[in-house]
Structures are given as C-alpha cells and as structure tokens.
C-alpha cells in the first residue's frame, strides 16, 4: 500500500520560501498570483492494509515526526496496491 503525506506551512504562518518562489513565478510572467506555499511530500510504502488502526498510527506519526503542528498542517492519501 502506498501512502502520500503532504506537509504544508499553516495558513497563518509566514512562508519565506513560498514568498520567494511566488516572486519568481511572477517574474516569469504568471499573472494574478494570489499566493504560493511550499511544502513537502513524503511517500511511504507499507506492507499493510488500510485500517482505522493504521490511520490512527499515521496521524500520530504525522503529528510527532513528519510535521510540526506549531507551523505545519498535514494530510495524506492512501492508494491501493
């Protein structure tokens, strides 16, 4: 089973990287840009099936390690085999 975890800076937290990338996008001609946020994707491959227990464990791992809840949000997608 494949799991994709998306970690993004919280909406109300300044994202210096996003601001800089936004400026570059504008200088390359993108019009009407209203915001740019830079986050990261963590791809996991796990030998297990989807279950509430796995999701509970994933949530804990996302909160404890993969994201820092002070500054970041996370979400994940679980894809089949």
């Amino acid at each position: 089973m494949k799991i994709k975890v998306f970690v993004t800076p919280k909406k109300n937290v300044l994202d210096p990287q996003g601001v800089a990338v936004g400026h570059a996008l504008e200088s390359l001609g993108l019009k009407g840009l209203k915001g740019t946020r830079v986050g990261k994707v963590v791809e996991l491959e796990v030998d297990a099936g989807d279950s509430p227990r796995l999701r509970a464990q994933l949530d804990k791992l996302c909160r404890d390690l993969l994201s820092n809840p002070v500054i970041e949000d996370y979400q994940y997608e679980i894809a089949g085999e």
Binding site: D15, Q17, L65
Partner: protein, 227 residues
C-alpha cells in the same frame, strides 16, 4: 557543578560548547553520545549547535527522537537545567521542551554575523542584573526565524519567558525573539552562540556571562566568581 554536552550525528558546535564550560569556566564537562539512554550526573545539559541528522525533514526533527532525549526529558521534568544553542534550541522546540518553532530566515539567507541583543528580565537567573542590558553574540543560521501562535506569544510575554531580543532583527523572528525559556524556568534556548564568544579572539566575551547566568539558576554563587 557538572556539565553534560550532547553529541548527535551532525553536531558541530559540541567542541565549542565543551570548551566554553571546560576552559572558559573551568567546570567538569563531558560529552554524552546521542545513543546513550542515561545522562549520568549532570547539573546542566547542553544541547549544542550544528546540523543534527543533516537538518533532514526539519531542523531538530529527527534528533528529537534520539535515545538520549528520553533522559533529557526526565532531567527537565525533575527541574534539571538545560541550555540549547542554535540547533540545540531547534531540537528543544521540536521536542516540545520549549514553546514555538524556528523556520527559514525571512531573507532566505544564511546569516553569520555578530548581533547586539537586548537582555530581558526573564526570571531569577537570566536578567539584566546577571547580564547587563545589552550583550553581543554571534549568530550563524539559516533557520532562526522564531514563530509561535498568538496565544503562545502572549503567554511568553506575560510569563517573561523571552530571554533575548535582537536589536536589529536578522531573521524575521516574531517580536525579534532570539531566545526563550520554558514556563518552569529551567530550560533555556537561543539561536545566538555563547559558545563562540569567550576567547580573546572571539568577537565578544559575553558567552561567559550567558553560561554563568544559566548556571546561576541552581548555583547563584557562580555570579560572584571572577573571570
């Protein structure tokens, strides 16, 4: 007065921190490798600067789960004194031993410069009596931009948990915050480097006063010792 300096893979100011306490203050100081599960006898635990685990994922995010961090947490819960410098500050924030988080400098630049810092009255050990109103310490970081939510910020200010503020904010930190302590007052963290400010050839010698101020929490007599 025994000092333990932690070492993680990628720590690179461990020797500087060791030298500050061992040579600068002449105190018994030893290293504790991150795989240890016990600290041994330690009155002060120093979490040094560097790039633990290559700063992978987030600065300090992986070091926080090192075996030694269990012992560090116990030490903190028993009221033991901890000082985190630079990456050490980031590790303590990640571990939840200090409030807030450190993100990329607003300039996106790595800043390596000696800063003027305003000393705050942050409790019985760290204050303008032990340190004076202004000190100068070097910084060297790319991720020192201190962030905390509005409620957290308010409680930091109300409880006098801010240790130091940049006079000229180099990294975009909220409230120009350069260092904080926990609510209980025994865990200290700062981005500036007292460990790079005590030799004659260093840009300042204020690191000694910072080390003493932290130690004075349990050993007030240290403030009377001559340099």
């Amino acid at each position: 007065m025994k000092i333990a300096v932690l070492q993680f893979p990628g720590s690179n100011c461990d020797l500087d921190a060791f030298h500050l306490f061992a040579t600068g203050l002449g105190l018994p100081t030893r290293f504790v490798w991150h795989k240890e599960t016990r600290l041994g006898e330690a009155d002060l635990v120093v979490v040094p600067g560097g790039f633990s685990y290559g700063d992978y994922l987030r600065c300090g995010a992986i070091a926080r789960f090192s075996p030694v961090m269990g012992a560090v947490r116990d030490h903190a819960e028993k009221g033991g004194v901890i000082l985190g410098i630079c990456n050490g500050f980031q590790i303590l924030c990640e571990a939840g031993l200090l409030p807030g988080a450190l993100i990329r400098n607003s300039s996106l630049e790595f800043r390596c410069v000696t800063c003027d810092l305003a000393v705050e009255d942050a409790g019985p050990a760290f204050n303008t009596r032990s340190l004076g109103r202004r000190i100068r310490l070097p910084i060297a970081h790319g991720e020192g931009n201190y962030r905390i939510d509005a409620a957290g910020r308010e409680s930091l200010e109300t409880n006098h948990q801010v240790l130091l503020r940049y006079v000229d904010n180099p990294n975009g930190s909220q409230g120009s915050i350069a260092g904080v302590r926990n609510e209980e007052g025994n865990v200290f963290g700062m981005m500036p480097h007292p460990d790079r400010a005590f030799e004659r050839f260093h840009p300042s010698r204020d690191g000694i006063a910072v080390a003493r101020a932290v130690l004075s929490l349990r050993f007030p007599e240290i403030l009377k010792m001559s340099a």
